[in-house]
């Protein structure tokens, strides 16, 4: 099993061994590959591309099923298989968006909102370890919540950060359920506006400095 602190070279060596074992028909080897890459694929690619937990999990299963079928086509060229899996995963997510009018699934690609806290390395092996950090995003979110209307901030806090039901949130804010839904819609739009302004300013400043 790959150790957590493994460097890029160790990781590649480990992957080569695992791929060799998969090609020899060892089922447990595929499990090792899955355990090493499933969680980062979900967190860094599929959830941001689909914005929906169930859809992201389905896409993850489909990604590995396709990878298993096409493993013979994979050529390492000294790059982790993770990036090949990323390509498959992105195609799966695109397929899901393409068919969302038929499936009626509520999908939302929010990769654009993640840009400011996105990976910065150009080296693909280094990128592997630079998860789009949910914790970084959370810190920035908390900053924005301090800037928007207090009631909006409270609604977002209860519903998304504390993961409470609509009914609970409506009770806590002492409004009817229908009014809470509207309050939440307005809060989300206010949050998004502030978030985009904050990061377009940061991008502009970065461009000027460079």
């Amino acid at each position: 099993m790959l150790s957590e602190g493994a460097n890029a070279a160790e990781r590649l060596r480990w992957e080569r061994g695992v791929l060799e074992r998969i090609r020899r028909g060892e089922q447990t080897a595929f499990g090792e590959l899955y355990r090493a890459h499933a969680a980062p694929l979900y967190r860094q690619v599929l959830y941001p591309a689909l914005g929906n937990r169930t859809a992201a999990e389905d896409a993850l299963a489909e990604t590995f099923r396709t990878a298993l079928q096409r493993l013979d086509q994979f050529q390492s060229n000294d790059v982790s298989i993770y990036f090949w899996l990323v390509r498959i995963a992105k195609n799966k997510a695109t397929d899901m968006h393409r068919t969302k009018n038929v499936t009626r699934r509520a999908l939302a690609n929010f990769e654009r909102l993640l840009e400011p806290s996105e990976m910065v390395s150009t080296n693909p092996e280094a990128q592997l370890h630079e998860a789009r950090s949910a914790h970084d995003a959370r810190h920035q979110i908390e900053q924005i919540l301090k800037q928007i209307n207090e009631r909006y901030a409270r609604a977002l806090q209860l519903r998304f950060l504390e993961d409470r039901s609509r009914e609970d949130c409506a009770r806590a804010l002492e409004v009817k359920l229908g009014n809470f839904d509207v309050l939440l819609l307005r809060a989300l739009r206010a949050f998004r506006k502030h978030w985009e302004e904050r990061h377009s300013d940061a991008r502009l400043q970065g461009a000027v400095e460079s």
Binding site: I22, R24, G25, E26, Q27, F30, Y34, R35, A38, A39, Y42, R43, Y47, P48, G51, N52, R53, T54, A55, E57, A61, E62, F64, R65, L68, Q69, D95, T99, K100, V102, T103, R104, R105, A106, A108, N109, F110, L113, L114, A134, A137, R138, I141, L156, R159, F160, L161, D163, V175, G178, N179, D181, V182, L184, L185, L188, R189, F191, R192, W195
Partner: protein, 223 residues
């Protein structure tokens, strides 16, 4: 709440529906949904939970079986027997342990030893005991999978394909051993995907069900 117009109310209702049931209604506001998904990303949704990781891998197991060539068969036979016996002995021991354990009871270790001795001496042969317990485990898993099939079937009939899929996922985690119950789980999964208009996923699941049934048929014909 001020300035409530119909459009905003419709959008708010569609958003609530999307957040609670993953359903996209025509008025769903994409901008707000993206912001909501982003906020959820900063919470627990960002991580693939251990349960989900395991469930998804269990779904892949049948594909893995059909994909892998059975290499070095003779080596498998050498290791399979002892490994199986070791696993079964461990299982028996764990079963006995969980049955006999009581926090209020006296010395746990001596109680366990006595229980194990009683179990083995009461059994006619170790082989019989092992095969009986493995059989009963499989029967229990089959029974659980069958119950989950029935539940998923009902959820599907009530127009809840999402709940049915979750129930099926629970069933798939239990065992990947080919059985009529496993084939039925895949068949219901296919119908749930079909209900959601997911033709590729439905096709995959029908294919899995077909393969399992084919395997079972071949086994029953002694091929």
């Amino acid at each position: 709440m001020t300035d409530l117009d119909e459009r905003e109310q419709a959008e708010a209702a569609a958003l609530a529906e999307a957040l609670d049931r993953d359903v996209a209604l025509p008025d769903l506001p994409a901008d707000a949904l993206e912001a909501a998904a982003f906020l959820r990303f900063s919470g627990k949704d960002a991580e693939l939970g251990a349960e989900a990781e395991q469930r998804i891998f269990a779904e892949l197991a049948p594909a893995l079986k059909t994909q892998s060539a059975p290499p070095r068969k003779s080596l498998y036979w050498i290791w399979l027997g002892p490994m199986f016996a070791l696993g079964a002995v461990t299982f028996l021991w764990v079963q006995q342990t969980s049955r006999s354990y009581s926090p209020a009871a006296g010395t746990h270790a001596s109680q366990l030893t006595a229980e194990s001795e009683r179990t083995f001496s009461a059994s006619p042969t170790l082989g019989e005991a092992l095969s009986k317990s493995v059989r009963s485990l499989q029967e229990e898993q089959n029974l659980q999978q069958t119950s989950l099939c029935d539940l998923a079937e009902r959820q599907l009939q009530q127009g809840q394909p999402e709940s049915a899929l979750r129930t099926i996922a629970d069933g798939l985690v239990l065992s990947a051993t080919p059985s009529a119950a496993l084939a039925r789980l895949y068949e219901i999964k296919a119908r749930a995907h079909e209900r959601r208009g997911e033709k590729t996923l439905a096709g995959d699941s029908y294919f899995q069900a077909l393969q399992i049934n084919r395997q079972l048929m071949q086994e029953s014909l002694g091929e």
